[in-house]
């Protein structure tokens, strides 16, 4: 049984600078996703819509768009769950490159501030550090982040101030801080409690509602704030000790 859907796609042509809405009608079979619909429009009607897609099993995080006003991954939203004029728009808070493709380089680069790596720079390792399943449980939720940038697109603070590091970077920083094998915790908290760090977040909480892998970046940021306050108090009380120990290491 096929059902008729009208798809409105927001187009943008970088050369002419024009924005307009394309209307397409498609006949969807049972379990057609928005991504399948876009593929069909692009291939049969040669509409030439530019969009990102790769794995079609909602694990790579490239097909993030706004469908009917909600930030979703196109590959796991089904047409039968949406009401009829399905409107597809590019992600908010990012410069639009063309049609549904947005420029997320800046947000990806902000991950650098989260120092997303453990300290071990050695190349060979013989011994295996023990990590109990309980310790692993701590980082299970925030380590699911697929970097699809939907949370950054749902954050009003990021929309108004592009220097803010964004919920994604904070969630990944929280994942590495809570990892039992990590010892960069101090430096990472320095970076997070900095000017563009977590203090700009007013806990709107929308980034957690939008996350397709329910990583809950809002919760991670609040916990980082608490850790940040304690860290700052500690580093404020003993500034002399800290600088001396660094030279020793």
């Amino acid at each position: 049984m096929t059902k008729k859907y009208t798809i409105r796609i927001r187009r943008y042509d970088p050369q002419t600078g024009k924005n307009w809405y394309d209307i397409h009608n498609i006949y969807a079979e049972r379990r057609m996703t928005v991504l399948d619909a876009l593929n069909q429009i692009n291939e049969h009607e040669r509409a030439g819509i530019s969009y990102r897609s790769s794995c079609r099993m909602s694990i790579c995080g490239s097909c993030g768009t706004i469908v009917n006003g909600k930030s979703v991954l196109m590959c796991n939203t089904f047409l039968k769950d949406l009401e009829d004029p399905v409107t597809i728009e590019p992600l908010r808070n990012f410069a639009i490159v063309k049609d549904l493709v947005v420029d997320t380089d800046a947000a990806m680069e902000k991950l650098r501030d989260a120092l997303p790596y453990t300290t071990f720079s050695i190349t060979k390792s013989r011994c295996e550090s023990v990590q109990t399943p309980k310790q692993l449980e701590k980082i299970k939720q925030t380590s699911q982040c697929i970097k699809c940038m939907l949370c950054v697109s749902a954050c009003p603070i990021y929309g108004l101030d592009y220097n803010f590091m964004g919920p994604a970077a904070a969630a990944i920083a929280y994942r590495y801080n809570k990892d039992s094998r990590d010892h960069v915790g101090e430096k990472r908290l320095d970076s997070l409690t900095g000017r563009n760090g977590v203090w700009k977040c007013n806990f709107v909480g929308e980034c957690s509602n939008v996350c397709p892998k329910n990583v809950d970046p809002a919760g991670a940021i609040q916990k980082m704030k608490v850790m940040g306050v304690l860290h700052c108090i500690k580093s404020a009380l003993k500034p002399k000790l800290k600088s001396k120990s660094k030279s020793k290491k």
Binding site: G17, R92, I96, T142, M227
Partner: protein, 136 residues
């Protein structure tokens, strides 16, 4: 804040329902601030009136009238403060499970939220009884 080319103005989120809850929570701050300002005015008026009456007891009634204006609005502003305080309490207790340093499932968060509400009610009645019978 440089404006990025061809991107919708950054107030797209204002009419979204999910952000209404965020508004609601932040507005309680205004109500409490107004309540606080009223009390500053109130205490200022009392201290000022005590000083004036101490030094020149017989002042013309117009000045006395001005000094006692805050008394008339005592009930109104305290109601504003009370509403603000209730909103703040409920939303803040709703947020507190997020701040606690261990990640909890949704069910656990609701549990802690209701626990906090109970603690708050208990504490309030206790304080209220303490304040009331010490008055009588």
């Amino acid at each position: 804040m440089k404006k990025l080319a061809n991107t919708p103005a950054p107030d797209w989120w204002k009419e979204k329902p999910a952000y209404k809850i965020y508004y609601f929570r932040e507005y309680s701050g205004i109500l409490i601030a107004i309540w606080g300002l009223y009390w500053l005015w109130f205490i200022g008026a009392i201290i000022f009136s005590r000083i004036i009456l101490a030094y020149f007891p017989d002042i013309d009634p117009v000045f006395k009238y001005i000094l006692f204006i805050p008394l008339k609005y005592y009930f109104l502003f305290n109601c504003i403060g009370f509403i603000g305080a209730i909103i703040h309490t409920i939303t803040w207790l709703g947020v507190m499970p997020e701040i606690l340093p261990f990640n909890l499932s949704k069910k656990q968060r609701h549990l802690i939220f209701s626990l906090l509400i109970l603690v708050w009610l208990g504490l309030s009645t206790l304080l209220f009884i303490l304040l009331m019978n010490s008055l009588l």
